[in-house]
Symmetry: C2
């Protein structure tokens, strides 16, 4: 959101973002008086659109007086480039129904506050980002039906087609876990997992069972048995995992909702890579019964969707109790966390965060995260996760050697090797991280990149995938080990590639976190 060197004079970011909020709200309300007030008076003010320029605040006001309002739009990225302590060049990207737009505004602050001195607007229709053909590959779906399980026919999720991750029990089907040897020995499930049942009760239907990374112990979306699902939003790139098939199906439009799991980022990562809204609930807020475990201290069942309104409705259905619906007073931003992402990703996430701040009217506050903390919390998490993963699946893997790929086998092997003292030390770090984050989230909701980069190339190879995983785990494992809910907003762009902005809320604040989506897109 800023390209300033630290030595530059302080900037009134709060004032600028508040002015942007006021502008957007006035535009949507066609509040001409406020819009006129926010444009600098005088003959030199500029407004460009399409093929022409209006020069002078009088001509701009005259145009506005007869325009009759602007079409509804929702900010997705607000790129702020400071041109001085009291001036900024702002480029805001927005979505509309079936379209998108860009506005450039040059803002200056004078004794009367922040005002636009020049603006440039463009926009138009955009092709639907959905390619129904892209997700027909067997790398995405293990089982498909028409539907596989019918919905109740009514309810808030009527007509919503769910891609169920192949860790979740579907009555009459086996759980495959992304490993053919697991599928072979799996029993036919007698009942739906309770989480799935809640979606069905709300009217959703099961479109099919979607592929997962092997035993969910990967963030890449590469499965050597079933293949790598096509990422419809990032051709040539991996979809992310382990909820890879659910993400690919939803991104391709062959499903509307992905029901998946997130232990270390398995919903947030494919959400980020495939441009989807992702929700990891508070640990324990959604039942994990009937779901193949990985590391029970951290396992959650959550959702992916193309739009915020569907995610919000489905998340509400999944939550047993509405819980805390409080709204934060401030959005928190940490330079340390942003710098865990690539510079391009950090800029993209900052632009998405500014859009969130403007759209919600919430101010942004910078907070300190010690530079060495992420490496420490990631290492501790990985130790506990590996030990629990071995506890979950060690017996099976010992009985079936060679049934998972070497990289996954190595992760389980690391878990087998964790000693008791090492585990205790790691749990202490987790506990301290949790206490620290609880304090932080009492101040406001923490915003950070969902992943350290956009989706890696399918050709990145094991080393490339491992590097992406290691970078991203420093960001994802914070919520995982602290049990707090996380919402991934697919608003960042690095070139054409999506990348997520992740918002962490206090434990139990899932309903409030989902409510953040209200007004941020078509209902």
């Amino acid at each position: 959101m800023t390209v300033a060197a630290p030595s530059e004079p302080p900037r009134d970011e709060a004032g600028l973002l508040a002015a942007l909020t006021r502008y957007e709200r006035a535009l949507m309300a066609d509040d001409v008086a406020v819009l006129d007030e926010l444009f600098a008076p005088g003959p030199a003010t500029l407004r460009a659109e399409g093929t022409g320029v209006l020069v002078g605040s009088g001509h701009i006001a005259a145009f506005r007086a007869v325009r009759g309002g602007a079409p509804a739009r929702w900010l997705r990225r607000v790129h702020v480039r400071w041109t001085g302590p009291d001036a900024a060049h702002v480029v805001a990207e927005s979505e509309r129904e079936h379209g998108a737009g860009v506005q450039t505004q040059w803002w200056r602050r004078d004794e009367d506050g922040w005002r636009v001195h020049a603006a440039h607007v463009s926009g138009g229709p955009v092709a639907a980002p959905v390619d129904p053909g892209a997700a027909d590959d067997p790398a995405t779906w293990r089982v498909r039906g028409a539907p596989l399980v019918a919905g109740a026919g009514s309810g808030p999720l009527a007509g919503v087609r769910v891609a169920v991750k192949d860790l979740v029990a579907v009555a009459g089907q086996r759980v495959g876990g992304g490993v053919p040897a697991w599928l072979e020995q799996a029993p036919v499930e007698a009942a739906h997992a309770p989480a799935l049942q809640r979606l069905l009760d709300a009217g959703a239907e099961v479109a099919g069972i979607a592929q997962t990374d092997e035993l969910a112990f990967s963030l890449t979306g590469v499965n050597e048995h079933s293949g790598t699902p096509v990422n419809p939003r990032a051709p040539g790139r991996v979809p992310g995992g382990s909820s890879s098939g659910s993400a690919a199906a939803v991104a391709a439009g062959t499903a509307d909702l992905g029901l998946g799991t997130d232990t270390a980022g398995s919903l947030r990562v494919p959400g980020s890579y495939c441009g989807l809204y992702a929700w990891r609930p508070t640990h324990g807020a959604v039942p994990v019964e009937g779901v193949l475990p990985l590391a029970p201290d951290f396992d959650t069942v959550g959702l992916l969707a193309r739009d915020g309104a569907t995610l919000r409705r489905a998340g509400t259905a999944l939550l047993a109790a509405p819980g805390d619906r409080a709204r934060p007073e401030v959005l928190l931003r940490s330079r340390t966390l942003l710098e865990l992402a690539s510079p391009e990703t950090a800029l993209a996430v900052e632009a998405a965060l500014a859009a969130l701040a403007v759209a919600t009217g919430l101010p942004v506050r910078d907070v300190d995260v010690p530079a060495d903390a992420p490496a420490a919390w990631t290492a501790a998490f990985r130790t506990v996760q590996a030990a629990q993963a071995w506890a979950s699946h060690g017996a099976f893997l010992r009985a079936h050697p060679g049934v998972v790929s070497p990289s996954v086998a190595a992760r389980f092997g690391a878990g087998e090797a964790v000693g008791a003292e090492e585990l205790t030390t790691a749990r202490d770090v987790v506990a301290r991280t949790r206490a620290w984050l609880d304090d932080l989230l009492a101040q406001g909701w923490l915003c950070l990149p969902s992943t350290s980069t956009p989706a890696p190339s399918r050709e990145a190879g094991p080393d490339g995938f491992e590097a992406a995983r290691a970078g991203t785990l420093q960001l994802t494992t914070l919520a995982s080990q602290c049990g707090v809910p996380a919402l991934g907003l697919p608003w960042g762009r690095v070139g054409d590639l999506p990348v997520g902005l992740c918002v962490l809320a206090p434990r139990g604040a899932d309903a409030g976190l989902l409510a953040l989506l209200d007004g941020l897109g078509p209902a």
Copy 2:
């Protein structure tokens, strides 16, 4: 071009405009290396177009590498707003074939020079500004043919339809002079005026004879006998005069070229009001034989056209000798002259001048014009003009009382009242002005507003028209009394209304002045 207070630090306008020139030329040549160099390197640089934004110089360069060049475009207005001594927000408007575009650029200067840190581009087709129906009214045409006089069928002006002002002899027709009583007593002309003959020899045809203000002694385009021609570019506004019908016909597309006269601005003013290219030649460079005189010391025969290429070809045909084709080294700008126009008009003309500077690569230099000089030279001109006008038509008017409207009669009456001493004093001022301007034009070509405002409302009334005329005469009479050529470029916009930028060159430099149009539009 600037909104700076005088106390602000000096600004590198020359460097910025040179960078803009380099950018435009590289864009037209698809010189990707230069374009890449002119965009600031790094991940924060922005380029917006349509529905999306590219973030980062690498992504912008990748886009540019495969774009394969941009469509030809010609700058018309470059609005420069300084955001600091080393930074400017630039909004440039351009024309394309059948379209137009706008680009916003935020430029900053660092140790490597001026670079773009953010850009926003839009554009598209524009409706043809021509309404063939609008000029069928008898206020525009006195006589029309199909054609009235056929052309030679070949030559550089083949197919060009000329609207001949009703002061110019057309063989077989009478000259009407905008006064029915004059028409009644006028003989049928035996031959075309030599200026018209030159156009016909070059292949043009005569579409008809277009109305004029009464005896050409007005700048408004209102004629109480024939009416006020529709100004197709400015509905509800006067077309300007006295070449009013020619301008209206060309603007409406029922003619391609207006052959008119300019004594005190009678081509430049309707050109400015109707959005046309206008050329007043060096006094004496185009023969005035066969043309009804007004004030022979200042009378010229010149042209109006919708596009620069037609004006350039027709002007070349009109000039007996090619003359001096030298190009200036600099464009001169005077704050005093700009401030004779309304603030909106001055800003519009500054934007047009910046576009001319960028398109030609010529630097802009500010020159001093004493604040009291324009009033003095205007008064002197009006004295001499009125005296000569009375000498031209006093006998007729005395013999035909009441045949012209009161405002025109008053101007002639003022001419009758000019005494010998007053005339001598006025001629001295004219001579001094001429010497001063000759010195100035030896440095570069002087750029000023064609008119002090865009076209006044048709409802402005005698006082409104007189005020517009008085303001504009301070600008137009400089070229008139000095006999220098003037080129009106219809590039300024005040709201939707056109307003001209006028370029004055040394006496005899007509060919060079017309050559300035090369490369400034479609050939």
